[in-house]
Structure formats: structure tokens, C-alpha cells
């Protein structure tokens, strides 16, 4: 594995169930993550995914890609376009640095509105430097859950490949 290597994408259908289950599993009872009416009154068109769920999905994406023994050391994310129900987010990763068993990966999760999440993950995995280039379709991404992790060969890249015109409504650096 070398800098510049790309990880296979992971497509995540953004369902109400995922948004609510993620919010509750992270003990986040903010109404905008489960109550559409209140979300609308706060200026959003619908409920949207909370940042803890996004964080968990990014972590899952990386450990899925790096396989058994991979351990997350750092996950830093910034949110942009919200994840609303009915959308699909495609997570993509590019290796930016490798140092022994440690790799840094740039992650982007794009939905129909634009980039939902951009971030950097540091992960350690034994034998990482000698690992195969993961962009190879044979790279073993565990497709545990057929509903949320289709075999990467089936990921449609045409629809969500580029950031939409919506840009990043929630983004902005302080």
C-alpha cells in the first residue's frame, strides 16, 4: 500500500432507520435527528444524520477496508451537505501517507447535495506496507450487510461521483 492508493468506495443508503438508529445508538436525542416536523421548523427540509453516526460510518469504512487487526488511531471529520433520508452517501478513501504499520487516509463521503463529510483517518494494521493495492476489485472489503454494504463492484459511480450543485450548505470553517 502506498500514498495515492484508492480504497474501494462504500455506498450507504441514507434511510430514516439509519439516521434514527444512529442517533439513538449514540444517545443523541436532538429532535432534528428523529422528528421531521421539528426539523422543518428549525430550517431543515427533513431529519438529518448526526455527526456521531457519520463518525461511526467513517470508522467502519476504514476498518472494513483495512481488514482484521486494523485499529483506528485518529478520526477527524468535517461535515458539509447534510445526509437526508432518501439520499445515498458514497464513501471514498485515498491513502495519503504510510509509515510502517500506520496509514493516513483522506476520506470523502458525497451525497446528492455535495460532500457530506471530508476527513482524515489514521489507522494501524499489521503488515500494512505489504498489503495489496486496495483499488483492485479483489481487495477484500467485507460486505457484511447487504443492505448497507453492497459488493463494491455494484457501486454506481455515475450518480454520486461528483459534488452536486448544492455545495456544502452546512460547511464553513470558523
Amino acid at each position: 500500500m502506498r500514498p495515492g492508493d484508492r480504497l474501494p468506495p462504500l455506498e450507504i443508503p441514507i434511510t430514516r432507520t439509519l439516521i434514527v438508529a444512529g442517533a439513538i445508538a449514540s444517545r443523541d436525542y436532538q429532535d432534528v435527528h428523529h422528528d421531521p416536523e421539528l426539523a422543518r421548523q428549525r430550517g431543515a427540509p427533513d431529519i438529518f444524520m448526526n455527526i456521531l453516526t457519520t463518525n461511526g460510518l467513517v470508522g467502519r469504512y476504514i476498518t472494513d477496508c483495512f481488514g482484521e487487526g486494523a485499529v483506528l488511531r485518529r478520526v477527524a471529520i468535517r461535515l458539509g451537505a447534510p445526509n437526508y433520508p432518501g439520499d445515498t452517501m458514497v464513501l471514498r478513501g485515498t491513502v495519503s501517507a504510510v509509515d510502517g504499520d500506520t496509514a493516513e487516509v483522506r476520506v470523502v463521503g458525497a451525497n446528492g447535495l455535495g460532500d457530506h463529510v471530508t476527513g482524515a483517518v489514521t489507522v494501524t494494521a499489521p503488515g500494512l506496507a505489504a498489503a495489496p493495492v486496495p483499488d483492485d476489485p479483489a481487495f477484500p472489503v467485507p460486505a457484511h450487510d447487504s443492505a448497507q454494504a453492497p459488493a463494491h463492484g455494484s457501486v454506481p459511480t455515475s450518480v454520486h461521483d461528483s459534488a452536486g450543485p448544492g455545495g456544502t450548505p452546512g460547511g464553513g470553517a470558523p
Binding site: 450507504i12 421548523q41 428549525r42 430550517g43 463518525n55 461511526g56 485518529r74 478520526v75 467485507p142 452546512g170
Partner: protein, 381 residues
């Protein structure tokens, strides 16, 4: 950028502790780990079985208070949020999360965490609205050992506009865009007792235990003898209008159309400005002489009430049109619920003649007789 007084006030909070050695509500445990993994679709075997560790990205989840809310955090967080809520920045969205994992968390670990306010941004305008980015830094420990750090950034902002495409802007009043909430009182340790009293429908006056002097508004020490020791007495509720002004223009939406005649529960009861502004027939919000003085966006009286106990309080006079408020008018304490989360002491014009003659034409701001000192309480008489 023009000078931003709010930003200056916000910067005071930088470096302050929000939470010190706060305990997680639950020890790290298998059920929460399993629920998390189910939600995320994460089947990493490292998170299962007898040697399971928690998914590192759960770090923040172990510190979440859930529905029961936090107990025991410092008032810093509430004060900061009250300041922003009061400025209209009532909405919040998380923008950044940076976590480092130094030691795995395992079922049975009991975590504690410290949170400090690391930085506050200047005012920023985003597509969501204008507000301020607040960054906190959390350190999470197990048995005193640092297990992880979590830097968290939120935007606390005034929403651009609720999206309600079904209600055009010219629609008549009715269920539709939310009215902004009245500013929240800034509650701190020096005045929290007063607001606790209001919650129990009592108007509490501080009484110095050194010299028995009454004082209002609440202060940490006596203006007379300097003693920090105090207790409280509940106001009996009778008072008179000592002075007043009439607020004509411009109208502040947050102060419009409170259904004061109906008491609590007039709105759908959500915390971001949800009283829908509709009338229920008891208060039509017009200047027809029946308005209670707080119900209309138009003129309303802001009065300095001298309580029977001798101290004075700024409040609204209700139950009488703004232009019939008079100095010396007897009033009675009431509690007015202005939205789901805010009740305020107000004063209803009482029957009976004014105790002092009206000395001026009412209703013009220039006709104000200033109270000589609203902050100086007097001793019991």
C-alpha cells in the same frame, strides 16, 4: 466587520471548564456497543466476543447524557448558550469532530471526562444562517489514564428562515413560520434563585442577613453593609407603577401576540420559537382597548413597579391598554407564560384609584419619568 459586542462577551468563556471529571452515565458495556454496531452496520469482530473493545468512534457516545440531561456540569455551558439564544442564535449544528484514541475502551471501563471551551469564532455567515462556531476540547479518562481526546465544533446560529414552502410569506397569520422567541434571561449563580422562585410562581426578594435590607435585582452582596449573607422573602404581590415608558417602534416580533389570557400551553410547545402566533379569541392583539399591554406588536408599557416591600422591578403592565397606564396605578403580581420554557413576572392593573395622580399625558416615550434608581432596594418599611 463592525464591532461585535456579543463576540467580545463570548470570548470571556474561552478556557473555562464546562465539565470537570464528569462521570459517564454508564460504564462501557456490550449492549451499547452492539446497538452501535448494528446501527452502523459494523461487523468488525474486534467489537464482539470476550475480548471485545468498543468501536473507537463511540468515544463521544460514552459522554452523552441522553434524554435525562446533564446533572452537575458547571453553569458555563448554560450561560454561554443563554447568551447566544438571547441573540437569536437558537439553532445548533455540529460541524467538526476530531478524535484521537490512545487506549482502547473495554466493557466494564468507567470513564470520566473533562471539557473546556477551547475557542469561539467571530461572527460568521453561513448558508444556514449567521452565528458563532464554538469549539470544545474533551479529554476522556479511565482510572485517571487518558484514553482519548475529542475536539468538537458546533455552529450556534440564527436560522436564515424556516423552510415552509406551503405557507407563502403573505399568508395571513396562522400555523406557519415560527415567531422568534423572546430573549432568554441570562441565569447565573448570582440570580438562579430568583428564576427558581419564578418557576414556583414566587417573586423572591433578597434580604441581607447583616442589615436586613431588601434588595432587587439580585446581587451577590449588600449595597448597604457589604455582607454576602442573604436569604429571601417572597413578595406579597402588591405594588404600584412608579414610572413607565411606552414602547412604540419598532416592533420586535419576539414580543408580539402572547395569549396571556389563556395561560400555559398556548403554543405547540417547541423550543425554537414555535408559538404560532395565532389568536384564540381571548386576545386579538390589536389596540382596541382590550389588549393587555404585552399582546400586541405595537405600543406596550414597560413599567418600573414599586413593590409593597419597597423594592422596584422592571416589568410589563397588563390588563389595561398601554395608554391608560398611570404612575401610581395599583398593580398585582401575575406570572405570564410567554412560551413553553419561559414564564415571567408581570403586573396586572388592579381595581381601585391610582394612589398618585397622573401627572402627564401618557403614551409618548418622551414622557418618561425615570425611576431614580431601579437597582437600589430599600429596607422594609
Amino acid at each position: 466587520m463592525p464591532p461585535d459586542a456579543l463576540y467580545e462577551r463570548l470570548t470571556v468563556f474561552v478556557g473555562l471548564a464546562v465539565r470537570t471529571a464528569g462521570p459517564g452515565m454508564d460504564p462501557v458495556n456490550e449492549p451499547m456497543i452492539r446497538h452501535w454496531c448494528e446501527a452502523m452496520g459494523d461487523r468488525n469482530p474486534a467489537y464482539r466476543g470476550p475480548d471485545a473493545v468498543a468501536p473507537p468512534t463511540m468515544l463521544q457516545a460514552w459522554t452523552m447524557s441522553g434524554l435525562s440531561g446533564h446533572a452537575g456540569h458547571s453553569p458555563v455551558h448554560d450561560e454561554l448558550f443563554a447568551l447566544l439564544d438571547g441573540a437569536g442564535c437558537t439553532s445548533v449544528v455540529a460541524t467538526d469532530s476530531e478524535q484521537e484514541y490512545l487506549r482502547p475502551l473495554r466493557p466494564g471501563d468507567r470513564i470520566t471526562y473533562d471539557v473546556v471551551i477551547e475557542s469561539v469564532s467571530e461572527r460568521k455567515t453561513t448558508r444556514l444562517g449567521t452565528g458563532y462556531f464554538l469549539t470544545t476540547l474533551m479529554q476522556l479518562r479511565v482510572n485517571g489514564e487518558l484514553a482519548g481526546t475529542h475536539r468538537f465544533r458546533i455552529l450556534k446560529y440564527a436560522p436564515v428562515a424556516p423552510r415552509s414552502p406551503s405557507v407563502p410569506a403573505s399568508a395571513p397569520p396562522g400555523p406557519g413560520p415560527a415567531r422568534p422567541l423572546r430573549p432568554r434571561p441570562v441565569i447565573n449563580r448570582d440570580n438562579a434563585g430568583f428564576w427558581q422562585g419564578v418557576a414556583g410562581h414566587r417573586l423572591l426578594i433578597q434580604r441581607c442577613q447583616g442589615c436586613a435590607r431588601l434588595r432587587f435585582p439580585w446581587l451577590p452582596g449588600c449595597q448597604g453593609c457589604g455582607s454576602p449573607e442573604w436569604d429571601t422573602v417572597a413578595a406579597g404581590g402588591r405594588g404600584t407603577v412608579y414610572s413607565f415608558v411606552v414602547m412604540h417602534h419598532p416592533p420586535f416580533p419576539a414580543f408580539a401576540a402572547i395569549d396571556s389570557g389563556t395561560g400555559p400551553g398556548t403554543g405547540p410547545g417547541i423550543d425554537n420559537g414555535t408559538d404560532d402566533g395565532t389568536d384564540d379569541g381571548t386576545d386579538d392583539g390589536t389596540d382596541d382597548g382590550t389588549d393587555d399591554g404585552t399582546g400586541a406588536p405595537g405600543p406596550y408599557a414597560v413599567a418600573l413597579i414599586e413593590l409593597a416591600e419597597g423594592v422596584r422591578i422592571v416589568s410589563n403592565v397588563i390588563g389595561v391598554p398601554y395608554d391608560e397606564v398611570r404612575i401610581g396605578m395599583p398593580v398585582e403580581l401575575e406570572f405570564l407564560r410567554v412560551d413553553k420554557e419561559l414564564e415571567l413576572p408581570v403586573f396586572r392593573a388592579a381595581a381601585g384609584p391610582p394612589r398618585r395622580p397622573a401627572v402627564r399625558a401618557p403614551g409618548r416615550p418622551a414622557d418618561t419619568r425615570e425611576g431614580d434608581d431601579t437597582r437600589e432596594g430599600r429596607g422594609p418599611r
